[in-house]
């Protein structure tokens, strides 16, 4: 069952289209990622889902509700962590948690949530005195405090150190295990690859690709990377005729090729035929990073 439906969403600012026909569907219980370069329209898209912006055209539905017309009902099922926001500087962490708890009909208990996010020692600290990472963790807690069915996290781990980032990822996996659907906006490939079931890559206001992380990697031109140090020089002409080859690089006597499994087989045949030994032969899958660059460049 889908819980978020976005169809042909459009939104312009001052004549410039920030979102230019975006469509996607998020299924209940999945972690759905929105990935894209800065200014691609990611935040505008999720702000339309949150009901903070009114779309120029297109249709957005959250559990069948219109986030603008049925805003209040949507806020009860959707928790949001915004990319940029603050709280009153002199409000303490505990007061913020209690205040936001009071807003919801069936809130979560904030104590275990604060504990889980490492905020227990900061309950009497005022918001203005928190570090960037602590503020971020408080906002994650506030997004979850209403026991939402859907949680939208925009730049979830920005400002967190690697340790806190990993803890947060575990928390998100737990949240999903509890049946909550997660819409995650990120530009961290590692985060997307680790957490997301499916990813929409958004570029210049459009969906450039929508697939699972491994699906996206497979789609990219250089999905497999082969690198080795040949015992004798290889003829570039031979290398360039390899099937499905995406790129060739020479560096310090080492050759790095990207392509597909077919390219790998052809390289091995070529090496054997040329009687060249490949030292330190490595075959690796491309990362989501490579796929992302490929996808966003293709539309440039």
């Amino acid at each position: 069952m889908s819980v978020i439906d976005v169809t042909d969403l459009r939104k312009s600012y001052g004549g410039r289209a920030a979102v230019d026909g975006v469509s996607f569907t998020v299924e209940e219980g999945e972690i759905f990622g929105i990935l894209g370069p800065n200014g691609a329209g990611k935040t505008t898209t999720v702000e339309c889902v949150e009901g903070l912006r009114v779309p120029d055209a297109g249709r957005v539905r959250v559990t069948g509700l219109d986030p603008v017309a049925d805003h209040e009902e949507v806020t009860r099922v959707l928790g949001a962590q915004l990319q940029q926001s603050e709280l009153q500087p002199k409000l303490t962490v505990r007061e913020a948690l209690e205040l936001y708890t009071s807003f919801y009909p069936r809130p979560a208990d904030w104590r275990p949530l604060a504990e889980r996010l490492g905020l227990t020692g900061k309950l009497t600290t005022r918001f203005g005195k928190l570090s960037g990472g602590q503020k971020q963790r408080l906002f994650i807690a506030l997004a979850l405090i209403g026991n939402p069915r859907i949680v939208v996290l925009d730049e979830l781990t920005t400002g967190l150190d690697p340790r806190a980032r990993r803890d947060t990822w575990e928390l998100i996996e737990d949240v999903r295990a509890g049946g909550v659907t997660v819409l995650l906006v990120t530009h961290f490939m590692e985060e997307a690859q680790r957490l997301c079931d499916r990813i929409a890559v958004i570029d210049k206001g459009r969906v450039a690709a929508l697939d699972t992380p491994s699906g996206l990697i497979r789609r990219s031109a250089g999905a497999t990377v082969i690198s080795f140090t040949p015992s004798a020089p290889l003829d570039d002409a031979d290398l360039n005729t390899l099937p499905q080859l995406a790129s060739v690089q020479h560096k310090d006597g080492r050759i790095t090729l990207s392509g597909t499994d077919e390219t790998v087989n052809a390289v091995i045949t070529l090496l054997a035929r040329s009687r060249v030994t490949a030292h330190q032969l490595r075959v690796t899958d491309a990362t989501l990073d490579d796929a992302f660059l490929d996808l966003t460049e293709a539309t440039a």
């Binding site: 949001a80 926001s85 002199k90 409000l91 936001y100």
Partner: protein, 249 residues
């Protein structure tokens, strides 16, 4: 949980935050009375003045001190706070919850309104106890004029916050508006002591009308319908302007 423009949890929270602002507490709640006490301690301010219709200057300054608290609260206290809430995304964050951000606007008005009324009580009490200034002889009329003036001041504050994009601008605009507001309320020269033409002109401004209405009620008359109408008119006009221009983000 609430979907009304008034949310008790938000209100409590804003009261608590106001108590953490010593500057706000001083300027809204104490400064008007401190000014009254300083002026009242000048001997000539305690002598009847024929230019004031036989009142002593200190008598004339009690309504001024009463108005001063609500002017400072409405024009200098509230606009930077509200604009700051918008600028830093606090209103926006609240928009993603079942509580409307208007709950924060209402809470701010209630907090500054309560502080201004308390300030008025302090000024009346100190005037009575320290300088034997008679309490208003027409208390109901006095209260009505005071409440209307308070509404006008809060509405003007909301307009200033609406037209100010940043906290800095709101502070500057608030301070700039503060001086004419203080002048018309009679801080430099009580309205009764103003030349007739000036007093008539000032009577058309919100705080000038408020000063005249308060003086009438203090003397025991029901405040003039014109002054109350001027105040009510400004309140309606300013509220309409605020609701037209105020942006939540």
């Amino acid at each position: 949980m609430s979907t009304d423009v008034l949310d008790t949890a938000v209100l409590r929270s804003e009261f608590r935050l106001f108590r953490r602002e010593p500057g706000g507490i001083f300027w809204v709640m104490l400064f008007p009375t401190v000014l009254l006490a300083i002026l009242g301690s000048i001997p000539s301010f305690r002598e009847a003045d024929p230019g004031l219709g036989g009142l002593r200057p200190v008598d004339a300054y009690v309504p001024v001190a009463v108005l001063l608290g609500l002017i400072v609260g409405g024009l200098q206290g509230m606009p930077p706070t509200l604009t700051g809430y918008r600028e830093s995304g606090i209103l926006r964050r609240m928009s993603t919850t079942p509580v409307r951000p208007s709950a924060l606007l209402t809470a701010q008005m209630v907090v500054f309104g309560a502080a201004a009324l308390l300030s008025a009580l302090v000024a009346l009490a100190v005037g009575r106890l320290a300088f034997r200034v008679a309490l208003p002889e027409q208390p109901l009329g006095y209260l009505l004029a005071l409440l209307l003036a308070l509404l006008a001041s809060l509405a003007l504050g909301a307009v200033l916050s609406a037209v100010s994009r940043t906290t800095k601008i709101a502070t500057a605009v608030g301070s700039t508006t503060l001086f004419p507001a203080m002048f018309t309320a009679g801080v430099w020269l009580p309205v009764e002591a103003m030349p007739d033409l000036l007093a008539d002109i000032v009577g058309w401004t919100p705080f000038g009308a408020a000063a005249r209405a308060l003086n009438e009620a203090a003397a025991g008359d029901w405040p003039g319908a014109l002054h109350l109408a001027v105040l009510a008119g400004w309140t309606v006009l300013l509220t309409a302007a605020a609701s037209r221009w105020f942006r939540w983000e």
